[in-house]
Symmetry: C2
Subunit: 590 residues, 2 copies
């Protein structure tokens, strides 16, 4: 129906008659002439209707916003004063010759002049997506998936589909269940990831697998989680962790280069311990220049218990941030930061303004200065390499609380004071502990199929599990974990040792992962893989505020869909056929 | 770890030392030397271990089938008598220098010398997929999806993901339900297709959409159905049905050309009525040369009620097939065919062997000849253009039974007598009736959003629905419907008329599809689309016997997975949290 998309009518069409289809983005009547901004997914073009062409003018006169129209028009240069250099179509306009209304539109329920509530935007998503910003995000996402697919394909990776109706997966979050009708009383689970299937594909000899695949987690949704999300899932045989990282890094480098014209460069590699030491986080945002400065050794002997307690506790941590220019922070701002880190478990926040670094302990202003000797204050300033006008912010608590609280504070203060560089800072975090302790037992930090670093034997794993590092790797970009993976265990003895350490009985292991254990008996190859979070990656690349902005039809934070009204009440006949019954009266009953 | 895949070691590597990884496909000991066929996903290469290299020979001696190994070896030409021209690697062999066992294998539970049961193959799918035939099918499938994606991408189609957790869809089959935990007592449904979402994407102005997407139907599984299957889903705005067919046809033509080196040529277009008339089927296999020959007019006045009844009934049909060389069929074979069409509702099968066409009615042999006049017999022979040695097979019953029974008979006899040409015969079937009658009411032949052919008004639809043709099209290949689609209704008045004809009340329409009806109010563009069944397409292209052979992890015909043992019993705690309970004691309780 069209000669060209509205957004692509440039001067090269001047003098030509063209056909366009699209939506009325705006109508203006000026000096007896009607101007229509006609919009399609590629952009907007200006169409002019003159009163001397009576037929089309009369129709144009009935146009309202979001009418869908078809028109024939002649492309001509815009009058001098009207040229818009910011628009691709800004040098021309289209003189409307023939006009047909393909469909009328009721007044749209979204206000283009103000922020609409997310509920309303999701209810009328098909209108919300017409906004050029939203259209462009979906178009960009399509480019990203297309690029990734071509890249993987060109590098020998096979696109293989894995089941959506499957068995409960061991990722730890809740599974969505699907009652079976042909096996009543039994349930499928929607996969949290194709982890076990991709490992089985390696056992099957597929060598290199990838899939852009939906995954499902029935979690309590935080701001940036969705019940279904999309993963770029990768698995390879016979590759080391270094090789998997190389493949992934090259993919991301090429993606950013081709689609954003950004050079990511080589990704630095940081151990998990180093990341925790310097940033208190396993996904540090390296755009922020501040690092943790540990000072427990300096504060072991002070009388101030808030410092001395954690400083002498092997499970404690005392660390500070030196905030450039932070001495300007008001008491009120500091109180707000104290409140902020309270959310992360911190009981308070000591601070020390360095008003004049040359004046030593005399030049500082701090509620805690009175508890510290001159020598200690000067040692703190020296270790921080602080300058006049900086502030030192202290965290002293258990190791985890200090990491969480000061880590969060680092990001917030960095953002507030404009310390964050506008750039892309990727890195690899490696050498995670294999297990973490909680509730008096050990848990797999990644998943129970993660291999230890090379050289660790099954016996060593059994004997000293807490000290074993895993051969896992996370890829982090600007403070977001955009992907993670590991070398997998491919030998049964090691897998049994891992289950043993995790307190998973032989019986439980057989019940849950028996098919994987069995597969390891039949010449399973060494294999490793990784998964990238596509939604988050696209969110970062488009600068969107959250992943819902880069999904066509996301759910709300209560996992509902205002558009279709899903989930909804089921037909009792259907439930009967499935052999299940609803046991609650309403949403909030127990 | 490897220099090259096993299956790609050609003469160009002669004289080089290479590294290989793979699985022991077969081991032979001949004249003190060990021959290993080493296999990976690309193929097989012959490796030789000489006893004079003691270390590697000793390890080679412990190798068993399906051990996973790594080796270094030197490529050399095979001795003259051992060259295998059918193998890519058939001119060379690899002299093993170093050998490492990466993983051992227990004896595999699948027998390579005989057909294994499908249950066993699915239980050990990771071993079954190692068979070169299976590996190649999955690799081919990956090529197909890759080709389709590039093609769609290069033609301006956006890859946009639609939700898997959604509302019950109106396709007619049963939905899989997913209980919601955050909205207890309510359920999501897994989509039978993204139909409504892709229409909404058109309303949103995305213009051209495609997605290779999982769809779900909780149906009683026939041999060639799966609970989850994959669709190449396409939707476009502002395109006519002809243009959608052109895009699809070009995609398929290019796909077959690039991947199979087959020229499909232009697809013939056949109306639904013509297809039913000539083949008794809306998915005719054009490789089979036989067509239905209607003879009701000739048999209206015979005394033989079996013929005269349906011949005089407006809802009846009397048709025959002329089977070339069919006079050779024995009485027993004919009895079997009679039994066969009984499954399709036919109460019997009249036949007439044409032993000598020149002898007219004298030259035929038929149990029904005695009921027919010489003139009628000769008219039948003439209309069939029968030759000596042919047989005429008759169907006389209701229109539907004759179509089904004689349609099935046509395929079976064609197959049995080798009448089916080995080739590719695609076609479009168009101009379907908009509605079909059953149980005293009208049903949408495609789905309720299908538009009538151009020119039909909402009023005409209301007044004479039974005669309205829909603007739908199916693409058929070798007797399989590989895809189908339609122009959609984009105006509310037409959609209301369609619902009215279908007996869907305003209230029901609002409840089920309210969001689509609402979307049509806001400048919905004219739009049309199509979906291809990827599994079936790949099945046909690979010559596989059923779609399970082209899926990595299919379900059994009772929708179970022998590999993971899904579906399985759910944890009662989890069910409680979901607010549901199982009401059946075991699988077969009501």
């Amino acid at each position: 129906m069209r000669t060209v998309y509205c957004g692509q009518v440039t001067s090269e069409y001047e003098g030509q008659e063209i056909d366009l289809v699209g939506w009325v983005n705006r109508r203006r009547d000026l000096g007896g002439v009607i101007f229509i901004d006609l919009r399609d997914r590629e952009g907007i073009v200006q169409v002019v209707f003159d009163p001397d062409r009576e037929d089309s003018f009369a129709i144009a006169n009935t146009l309202r916003n979001e009418f869908c129209v078809k028109l024939r028009g002649k492309v001509r240069p815009r009058p001098q004063g009207q040229i818009n250099k910011d628009m691709i179509t800004g040098k021309i306009e289209v003189l409307g010759l023939e006009l047909e209304i393909l469909n009328r539109s009721a007044p749209v329920p979204l206000d283009s002049n103000q922020e609409n509530s997310e509920e309303l935007r999701l209810k009328y998503r098909y209108i919300d997506l017409r906004r050029p910003e939203m259209t462009q995000r979906l178009m960009f996402r399509s480019k990203v998936t297309s690029f990734i697919r071509r890249y993987m394909d060109d590098h020998g990776f096979l696109d293989i589909e894995t089941p959506i109706l499957t068995k409960a997966t061991p990722e730890g979050a809740r599974d969505y269940l699907v009652p079976s009708r042909t096996n009543r009383g039994k349930f499928f689970a929607l996969p949290q990831s194709p982890q076990l299937f991709k490992q089985l594909l390696m056992v099957a000899g597929m060598d290199r697998y990838y899939q852009i695949v939906k995954c499902f987690r029935d979690e309590d949704l935080r701001a940036d989680r969705q019940p279904e999300f999309t993963q770029v899932d990768i698995e390879t045989s016979f590759m080391t962790s270094e090789e998997v990282r190389e493949v992934t890094e090259a993919l991301l480098r090429n993606l950013f280069n081709q689609l954003l014209n950004v050079e990511l460069g080589d990704f630095p590699i940081m151990t998990w311990h180093e990341a925790m030491r310097l940033y208190g986080s396993d996904k540090p945002d390296l755009r922020n220049p501040m690092q943790f400065i540990d000072v427990a050794d300096l504060l072991k002997d002070v009388e101030f218990k808030v410092f001395a307690g954690p400083a002498n506790d092997p499970k404690g941590r005392v660390a500070m941030l030196c905030v450039p220019g932070g001495a300007q922070l008001s008491r009120k701002q500091l109180d707000e930061y104290t409140k902020y880190i309270g959310k992360y478990g911190a009981k308070g926040m000591a601070w020390m303004k360095i008003n004049d670094v040359n004046a030593g302990a005399e030049g500082v202003q701090s509620p805690v200065a009175k508890f510290l000797t001159t020598e200690i204050i000067e040692s703190l300033i020296k270790r921080a390499n602080a300058q006049s006008g900086d502030i030192l912010l202290f965290g002293a608590d258990s190791y985890n609380v200090v990491c969480d609280a000061i880590g969060a504070l680092r990001l917030k203060v960095g953002e507030d004071l404009g310390l964050v560089e506008q750039c892309w800072k990727p890195l690899w975090v490696v050498d995670f502990p294999m297990f973490e302790e909680a509730d008096g037992r050990l848990w797999a930090m990644h998943h129970p199929f993660t291999a230890p670093i090379p050289g660790v034997t099954a016996q060593q794993l059994r004997e000293n599990p807490a000290n074993v590092l895993s051969n896992a790797y996370d890829v982090v970009l600007n403070g977001f974990e955009i992907g993670g993976g590991s070398v997998r265990i491919h030998q049964q003895e090691m897998q049994s040792a891992a289950f043993e350490v995790l307190g998973i009985s032989e019986e439980e292991a057989q019940d849950k992962f028996g098919f994987l254990l069995q597969a390891l008996q039949f010449g399973a190859p060494p294999h490793a893989g990784l998964a990238l979070g596509l939604d988050r990656l696209v969110m970062l690349m488009t600068g969107a505020a959250n992943i819902r902005e880069v999904m066509a039809f996301p759910k709300t934070t209560t996992a509902g869909c205002p558009l279709t009204d899903a989930p909804s009440v089921a037909n009792p006949e259907v439930l009967k056929e499935l052999g299940i019954a609803v046991t609650v009266k309403d949403n909030n009953d127990a």
